[in-house]
């Protein structure tokens, strides 16, 4: 008769999950290092490609990274012709973006939730909402110039660009709630308001926050466009526009890169918030 294998030592389940999560953490830090490595590499490659092509083109309108980084430092420390530094330009634009974005969140998210819970209202108003949705934010600029001034104009234009995508994404998140969750709550005797507030909204929250992150990019698009047409002195869009007329492409590129970096930082910040709020979603993927 074959000898029976000795029984495995009994491990407490709690300990086991602890061991599993330790392993997971190690794997995560390994993955993280790899991701950082690849990103450094692609950044380096990008800079090299840029430098190479600028040398090849040999045009004053296409400065390479070396020239641009010198300009970057000058703008950072001394500022532009009017004496506004780059951080100030960035701050002004960021302030405008966040105000417009905040206004859009305060309007689009509640409306998206309400219409997500009440789809018939959405389907009954589509003839108005759909055409409005398809008007590009830039087409609103004449109206914005006529009816708003200063900060209000920027806030309005960003709001116009962000409201619809945010509204649609929120509504979809809400209306695709798992029917079983709703059934579970209904059988337990939940009222409609309990189901809406405690089941459907928490269930849609990851999608809503994801939508907020996704619409940051149209928000930036709008601010730059809006700043370009307005007769103002500060703002990244304005910086780009002013120096484009002077053919100072190095400054234009600094403005472009600044927008890109700010966008990246905002995106990362949002993702960090999502990771802590919705840890349960994150770990499922790992």
């Amino acid at each position: 008769m074959a000898k029976m294998r000795e029984a495995e030592p009994v491990v407490e389940i709690g300990e086991m999950t602890a061991a599993v999560s330790r392993e997971r953490v190690q794997k995560l830090s390994r993955d993280r290092r790899r991701v950082i490595g690849f990103n450094s590499l692609s950044l380096l490659l990008f800079v090299l490609l840029w430098e190479g092509s600028s040398r090849l083109l040999h045009s004053v309108f296409f400065p390479g990274p070396l020239v641009v980084s010198r300009t970057f430092v000058v703008l950072l420390v001394e500022g532009d012709i009017q004496g506004y530094t780059l951080p100030y330009h960035a701050y002004v634009s960021l302030y405008r973006v966040l105000l417009g974005f905040g206004a859009a969140c305060l309007t689009a998210i509640p409306l998206g939730i309400i219409l997500g819970l009440w789809r018939p209202v959405y389907f009954g108003t589509r003839v108005v909402s759909e055409p409005l949705r398809f008007i590009p934010p830039l087409a609103w600029i004449p109206m914005a110039i006529l009816f708003f001034s200063g900060l209000g104009r920027y806030v309005f234009l960003i709001w116009v660009g962000v409201f619809f995508p945010l509204f649609i994404l929120t509504m979809n998140g809400v209306s695709t709630a798992s029917p079983t969750f709703v059934d579970v709550a209904r059988v337990l005797g939940a009222s409609r308001s309990f189901i809406a507030l405690r089941i459907i909204i928490p269930n849609a929250l990851p999608q809503i926050v994801g939508a907020m992150r996704a619409v940051m990019s149209p928000a930036w698009m709008c601010i730059v466009a809006a700043e370009m047409v307005a007769a103002e002195l500060v703002g990244l869009g304005q910086l780009i526009n002013n120096y484009a007329t002077l053919l100072r492409m190095d400054i234009v590129i600094v403005g472009m890169i600044s927008i890109g970096i700010l966008g990246l930082l905002l995106n990362e910040a949002f993702m960090a918030v999502e990771r802590t709020l919705f840890r349960y979603r994150q770990e499922v993927k790992v």
Partner: protein, 245 residues
């Protein structure tokens, strides 16, 4: 007492109505553990949903204690769905206490009751874990606890263990049996697994394929816990299998 009187149900399926349940009549006494046994897609789940008040009947009526099911009356039903359907943003305790939360039971009391049930189901120490951190079998236990905590007069279970591996399934069947022995409920348990039916039911109702009608209704009087390799068990299984094919 739970009564089905000539229940018919059909769904609108494009090309005319699709009959799912046909003239279903049955009376269930308090404390019975009914197993509804039938092929997949025969309308067992629909019958449970009708019992819970999640679907109306097309004809006939269901009476729970003499009254038709009505979700708004909070008539204390427990429903365990095929998938555990735990809410990922709630930890295990808050998943279990959902029904008490709906009834406005104070938090301390909710958690005490949930802790007790989780203990009975072997989940002590996992109260603050989130669903994604526990195994499939544990999720099903939590789903059972969530249905049990409202002290239901009827517990409806829709193939709750179908997605589990054999071992987990067996231990859950045992624990459910245990829990039921301690806190007797009227249970309607749907499955298409004959062995499972004999293992846990006090009464087995065999349904035909769609539209569902009662083929066989028999009491199982073997003592609990049942031993699937005992002579009586095997004999009963053979007999039922014969009737099924």
């Amino acid at each position: 007492m739970l009564e089905y009187r000539n229940v018919h149900k059909s769904f609108d399926a494009g090309a005319g109505p699709l009959p799912v349940i046909k003239d279903f009549t049955m009376t269930i006494r308090e404390g019975e553990f009914i197993v509804l046994l039938g092929p997949s897609g025969c309308g067992k789940s629909t019958l449970l949903r009708i019992t819970a008040g999640l679907e109306p009947t097309s004809m006939g009526e269901v009476l729970i204690g003499g009254r038709p099911p009505d979700l708004r009356r909070r008539h204390r039903l427990g429903f365990v769905f095929q998938e555990p359907a735990l809410m990922p943003w709630r930890d295990l305790v808050s998943n279990v206490t959902l029904g008490l939360e709906i009834r406005g039971v104070p938090k301390a009391e909710r958690e005490r009751q949930a802790g007790e049930l989780l203990g009975l189901l072997g989940l002590k120490g996992f109260e603050r874990y989130y669903p994604h951190q526990v195994s499939g079998g544990m999720k099903h236990r939590v789903a059972i606890a969530r249905a049990y905590i409202v002290d239901p007069i009827i517990l409806l279970m829709d193939e709750p263990f179908v997605a589990l591996d054999a071992q987990t399934r067996e231990s859950l069947q045992r624990d459910l049996q245990d829990l039921w022995q301690r806190r007797k409920k009227t249970v309607i348990f749907v499955t298409h697994n004959l062995e499972e039916a004999i293992l846990i039911g006090t009464r087995i109702v065999v349904l035909s394929s769609r539209p569902a009608t009662v083929l066989l209704d028999c009491k199982v009087e073997l003592p609990m816990p049942r031993d699937p390799v005992s002579r009586e068990f095997v004999a009963l299984r053979q007999e039922l299998r014969g009737l099924l094919v």
